[in-house]
Amino acid sequence: MNCQQYELWAMSNLSDPEFAAHRKTCPECQSAYKIDEQLMASAANLNTNIRIPDQWPAIENEIHRIKSRNKRLKLIRYSLIAAASLLVIFTFFFQWSEPVDITQERILDRTALEYVKSAEETYLQALESLEARAENRLQNTDDQLTSLYKQKLDVIDQQIKRCRNALEYNPANAHIRRFLLAALETKQNTLYEIIKD
């Protein structure tokens, strides 16, 4: 197309009345304008006979999946905060509290101690198996959920380590044994969640 007036009008550099007056004397622009009118009229009909399949069920399923994932993420964040808080409390209890007369501490007798140690051993065996099953999932560091699970497990492992260190000096201390059992149980539940996910 040689005439520039059409482009000027299309780019709003020529008003409609000016272009209409120009078209009367320019067969090229007149023809292009007429063709474009036909094109636009045909284009407006492109959607008239479209049948749209109903995709709402698939979209709704995906939304439910997103909602339950978000709920799980929230729960894990809260439990991570709770585990971290417990670790802080535990650290304060054993590092900054006044030394206590061991005769006044709650001490487990031999039978109770054997029972508790047996319970710990049971947890440890279960944890060994669960950790092996969860290993593959935990290697996927790109996933936000997995990353949160790993952080939670790190906090729990720190708690377990501190308990063990404290038990080296005070093996029959009921409080420390209770903390340790709680940490082992939390770790077990967390690994179950990871495997189930």
Partner: protein
């Protein structure tokens, strides 16, 4: 639509968005029902494949659901939905190009002589470059204004005008409608 009607629609959609963010999935279905046809029509013209267009619709509304908490209600919901849809179409087309020789590449050299029916126009539209195709579809098929298209495409209105003008020129050439000036 009159100014008053537009204001009413805006208020209604704001309420839908608020209810969806608060967890009401049934309200989000209203948004889907209102805009599914527009998104499907646009996607179909962009990707030229009904199965892919269905995927675009699904991905668009799922992305919209996730993005609604961050939606600024100063812009129109329809514009926002179509901008998501445009991005999904572009991603799909880019993926298609990487995966195989697109049949569109082979169509470039096949002349179409006259608009006998809308399918020939549709084929010609498929031969436009992606951004130009999107602007033309939104303007000529979906009836959006150039300013609205600028918002959807995230380009300025001048570029939209240029794209639409060039699209019409190209279509005239592809359809061999010009009389040899």
């Amino acid at each position: 639509m009159t100014g008053e009607q537009q204001k009413l629609l805006h208020n209604l959609e704001s309420e839908w968005i608020r209810q969806t963010i608060n967890g009401d999935t049934h309200t989000f279905e209203k948004i889907y029902r209102k805009y599914a046809k527009t998104v499907y029509g646009f996607a179909l013209r962009m990707v030229n494949n009904s199965k892919d267009a269905e995927d675009v619709v699904q991905m668009t509304f799922v992305k919209l659901y996730k993005a609604l908490p961050g939606f600024r209600e100063a812009s129109k919901l329809s514009t926002y939905i179509l901008s998501i849809s445009r991005n999904v179409c572009i991603d799909l087309l880019n993926k298609r190009k990487k995966e195989s020789n697109s049949p569109l590449e082979n169509m470039k050299n096949e002349p179409v002589t006259v608009i006998e029916d809308v399918s020939e126009l549709n084929q010609a539209v498929q031969r436009l470059p992606e951004r130009m195709r999107a602007c033309f579809i939104l303007f000529a098929v979906e009836g959006y204004s150039q300013n609205e298209i600028a918002g959807i495409m995230d380009i300025n209105a001048g570029t939209v005008k240029a794209m639409i003008f060039q699209a019409r020129q190209k279509l005239r050439t592809i359809l061999e409608l010009e009389e040899g000036y």
